[in-house]
């Protein structure tokens, strides 16, 4: 079960003479593809490639940010958007940008980041590039519970909380039935597919059983749309991200050791079982909160980390870059969905599925093995 060392087989494997995670060799020599910072016996390795990727992603984020705020049913020039953002200019512009578009864009960015972060963690855990919350049933579990809260209870009782409960339930079931995430990553994935199908069926059932009004209210939850996102859910998602992202970044070192065989990671002093549970919990929280905002949007969790991996050093798990890439992709998809068939708005979940699905199939059917992370 020894995995290949490279982040992705071949393509960006540069054999810099650097220390591996936890390695101690050549401490006096800074590796070619990274900057070494030293301060009184502490040292920090900054991989050049990841930082460059981060810069690109931030640039992209800025462009998407301005573009989403200016393009819409009433187009605005970018300079007017920027002026409106800072509170000057036409009051109508300010209302449009700050009250209408900014909230939606915020929802898109936050949920995209949540999905991508979740996907990145899950892919590292299962050592499979294709693991993502929508395939392994986390999204479906969250959706089922959220729909239940809309449909079954007369008042819609905190869908975000219930989405969290649903995601945790689905994951716990998958975890228990698959016998852990560890050695047999594929088992976890396939069991997740099954659990997801059951929750999907339950969602369909609830939608079929209720009145048409309740079904319509629950519709955004079934395809993934940014239309109905409530402010409360969005706040929770931002808080969740603010907690989970630093935690994930702090544990990158341990996470990157998960890519090796378990004995290797154990030998480096990583508490593998504990780390796995921790990362799984972070992934579930991020996915669930994102589902609570945007519904079960697929494929962001696949493409975001993939893009981030291309833009990052293979040394570590690109947690931050993945979150940024996910945010960009989600905002782009929402922009596409809003503008493509202009009077009709295509839900963002449909856009991502149509764009991301073929990409996923291409990855799967391409020559090299998808197992190697």
């Amino acid at each position: 079960m020894m995995q290949r060392l490279g982040a992705r087989a071949g393509a960006n494997r540069r054999q810099g003479p650097g220390p591996g995670p936890g390695g101690t060799s050549r401490s006096d020599l800074s590796p070619r593809d990274a900057w070494l910072l030293r301060w009184r016996g502490h040292s920090l390795l900054l991989p050049r490639r990841s930082l460059l990727g981060l810069a690109w992603l931030l640039l992209g984020l800025m462009m998407v940010f301005i573009a989403s705020l200016s393009i819409g049913s009433m187009p605005l020039a970018p300079q007017r958007v920027i002026a409106a953002l800072f509170g000057s200019g036409d009051p109508l512009d300010i209302y449009l940008v700050r009250e209408l578009r900014l909230g939606r864009l915020g929802a898109a960015l936050a949920s995209g980041a949540g999905f991508a972060l979740s996907g990145c963690l899950l892919q590292t855990l299962t050592r499979n590039r294709l693991a993502m919350p929508d395939i392994i049933g986390i999204n479906n579990g969250a959706t089922a519970f959220a729909v239940a809260s809309i449909v079954a209870l007369p008042m819609s009782f905190a869908p975000p909380m219930l989405a969290l409960v649903g995601a945790v339930t689905a994951t716990a079931l998958t975890f228990a039935l698959a016998g852990g995430v560890g050695v047999r990553g594929y088992r976890f994935i396939i069991v997740g597919v099954g659990i997801g199908a059951v929750f999907g069926a339950l969602t369909n059932l609830m939608l079929a059983r209720t009145s048409i009004d309740a079904a319509n209210a629950a519709f955004p939850w079934t395809v993934g749309s940014l239309n109905g996102s409530g402010a409360g859910a969005q706040t929770m998602l931002w808080i969740g991200l603010a907690v989970c992202l630093p935690l994930a970044m702090a544990s990158t070192r341990g996470l990157s050791s998960l890519r090796f065989a378990e004995p290797v990671a154990l030998g480096w002093g990583v508490r593998v079982a504990r780390l796995r549970l921790f990362a799984l919990a972070l992934a579930v929280i991020c996915a669930a909160l994102a589902v609570a905002v945007a519904g079960p949007v697929g494929m962001i969790a696949l493409i975001g980390p993939e893009l981030a991996r291309r833009l990052s050093s293979h040394r570590s798990v690109p947690v931050l870059n993945a979150a940024l890439a996910g945010a960009i992709l989600m905002a782009l998809a929402d922009l596409l969905g809003r503008t493509l068939l202009a009077p009709v708005e295509v839900p963002v979940g449909i856009v991502t599925a149509l764009v991301g699905g073929p990409y996923l199939i291409w990855i799967l059917l391409r020559g090299d093995s998808p197992r190697a992370l």
């Binding site: 016998g179 396939i190 069926a201 494929m299 699905g357 799967l364 020559g367």
Partner: protein, 335 residues
Amino acid sequence: MSAATGSVRFTRGLGFSLLALGVALCASLALGAGDVTPLQVLRWALGDDDGNVGFVVTELRLPRSCVGIVVGAALGVAGNLLQTVTRNPLAEPDLLGVSAASTTAVVIAILLGASVTTLQVWVAVLGAMCGCALVLAAARLRGVGDDPIRLILAGAALKGVLTALVSLVLLVDQRSADEIRFWTIGALAGRGYGELLGVAAPLLLGVLLVAYLSRPLAALALGERVASGLGHRPRLTRWLTLLAVALLSGVAVALAGPIAFFGLVVPVLARALVGPDIRRTLPLCVLLGPAVLLAADVVARLLVRPSELPLGVVTAVIGAPVLVAVVRAHRLPRL
């Protein structure tokens, strides 16, 4: 099972399946969402004629059961064929996106102006054929065929894309939405002899193909070289199997819509009863498929009386544990 030889086991399995089918059929006729009780049905069967009960049984429950039998047999056999030809114990028309392809084809046909008439069976079959071709092409790729998980994930992805496509059509074209909605959830309610007649031709063709294919497929299970040595042509066999799967799952979709996990459950049961030989599992699937489907349908009718569950919900709940069990087997069995 050391005492029982293969043929004894097969006879036993056959007997068991027949019994199961009989029980399921009786249950399907006697139980329902309405308020005609089994006792009344029994009295009616013994000749105590009550117009109302007779109407419910012969006009509502019997046609529905017949449709269930056809759909169950078609899906069971299609699942078995697909598992054999891809050598993947998890292969299943719905999981691999074949049913979704079929549904999508129907939806596109409706969008282009077709109406709900006989045309759709062939459209559904055509869509299923496209899905099958994709699956087979994927399974033949180097590396994918040896890796059951990859094929399943590719199928899940294909299904996701097609579902999104259907949602898009539903969103854009409100007129079609009503006609299409039926095709996107699996159910037996409201289908009858008319629909059965409509699918008779592709069904017959599929059955003939399957009858011809059982021997070549059994040879193919021994490996490509052995099959060629025995005088079969593996490539031709594969394409014909694909055609048969497409015909059968197209029929099933045309009759009942996509039904999740069903093609997975039945072959697993059949193999548990008589072992892996496809010449034995095929007839068993023909009997077991309807039995399981009718049982699921009865559950769907009874669980939330007086209304009904969609059949797809019940089969998903039944099928997921089977999926888990297959994956949890010590190592993923290879076919």
